[in-house]
Subunit: 247 residues, 2 copies
DNA sequence: TGTCATGATCTTGTACACAAGAAAGTGTCC
DNA sequence: GGACACTTTCTTGTGTACAAGATCATGACA
């Protein structure tokens, strides 16, 4: 097996993205290349590769000779991403409705279950929900649409996950997904798209309620999970990031 | 004015992309980082930044310690891109049809003209055509959809441009665009989407007819335009790229 | 105390050095 | 001539040095 190109940069890219999704890097946080290089035990070179990729994807911004910053929250942008998601997913659902036997057996096994066998953990449901919607696009068969949809999915992940903290949102998700699968199976494209639009819009509305305060709470919870019993010890730079502003 | 971040890499990125669109870098061509660095008078560092971005966008591929290569043609991929384009553009057109006064005045000035005032130069028509379709997405108002659409547009540019070499394709474009603008103005969403789908599909079908031979001819024409009278002098590596295979 | 100038420190952007390994070239043996 | 082993020459991936400039700290002065 020939070695992968830019292996170190690739790994660091994933690790940094995990830090975003684990609420370790929050909107407004500032950091430097040297900081990350030391944390990951490499030089700045692969770190820069990863950072510029994440910058291009919209997660970070760099100020000339003055450090990096996690892009502040932009709810208009989240709205646009949810909107794009809807467009892609309705297109996928329309196509699936035209198929004789849509290849969605695995989804039925997960979502068409009695209420007693439903997942309750918000983290797990969030992951399953992502997988559900991504699976719709994969099944529709256009890899490019699937790729774009995955990127969108990742970009809204940070707010989307917090939308499953209430049990009633989890229940609604199970019901909507079950209904959608049945409608697709019965080739009822128009109804399926209407349902899907409402489902995604509802989730987008929930995401609007996410506050920076909730993210900080989530960070604290995640930190305690990693280092139980230790008090918070904010670094020099992370202290500078407060107060965090919404744009 | 504060200086732009990564200015050199950004400029080189644009220059390399221009080389692709000017048929100087054709599918299958091989090259090295040092080669480009010398051509642009910089070190490898900014060149690498540009190359990895272009790699991520799907234009190039890198082999571990063995040079770079322009990705070979993949018609399935082009089909998927045309398909995604259709999805995005029909979504935009549906929204525009719901507006009282769609802000498309500039497009009417360009496309609703008597046949005598039409452009004939394939290059110019190709650029106008791109602008037309991008404008539809801008007018629809979702910046994220617009951004994705622009990326798709760039990726199919190389085959799309060659679709305007016949006068009848140019005429068809003028007619379709004019009809589409009128349908949008009359809020006839369904008809507009049907027309648009046919229009893009037709162009995608034309793109299927593009051959590697046509690209080589285009490269030769472009080269003669830059250096009139000089004979071709293939470099050591570009000779290695033949025979070019379609995937 | 508040403000401004000045110097020290930090940060990114670029160039360059070196290592690991791939590819190509060269000579030898049959 | 052809196959094979060996050497030489690239080529990318990574670490590091240095420059330009932004930011911060310090201290003088009103």
């Amino acid at each position: 097996m020939t070695q992968q190109a830019n292996q170190a940069a690739e790994e660091i890219y994933k690790k940094i993205k995990d830090e975003i999704f684990d609420f370790q890097l929050l909107p407004g946080d500032r950091f430097t290349e040297t900081e990350l290089a030391e944390r990951y035990g490499t030089s700045r070179t692969p770190v820069r590769g990863a950072l510029y990729r994440l910058k291009h994807e919209g997660y970070f911004e760099v100020q000339f000779r003055s450090g990096w910053r996690v892009r502040p929250f932009d709810f208009v942008h989240f709205d646009e991403l949810y909107d794009l998601r809807t467009v892609l997913e309705t297109a996928a659902v329309e196509r699936l409705c035209r198929l004789e036997n849509p290849p969605l057996g695995d989804l039925k096994a997960t979502w068409l279950v009695p209420a007693s066998r439903r997942e309750h953990d918000a983290r797990i449901v969030a992951a399953l929900d992502e997988a559900f919607h991504c699976r719709l696009l994969e099944a529709a068969g256009n890899r490019e649409m699937s790729r774009v949809h995955s990127e969108v999915t990742e970009k809204i992940r940070i707010v989307r996950r917090l939308g499953f903290l209430e049990q009633k949102r989890i229940d609604a998700t199970y019901e909507d997904h079950a209904k959608l699968l049945k409608l697709i199976n019965n080739h009822r494209a128009a109804d399926a798209c209407t349902l899907l639009r409402g489902h995604v819009t509802q989730n987008g509305t929930e995401a609007r309620k996410i506050t920076i305060h909730m993210l900080h709470e989530a960070r604290e919870r995640a930190r305690l999970l990693r280092n139980p019993g230790k008090d918070a010890a904010p670094s020099r730079r992370s202290g500078k990031s407060a107060p965090i502003t919404l744009s």
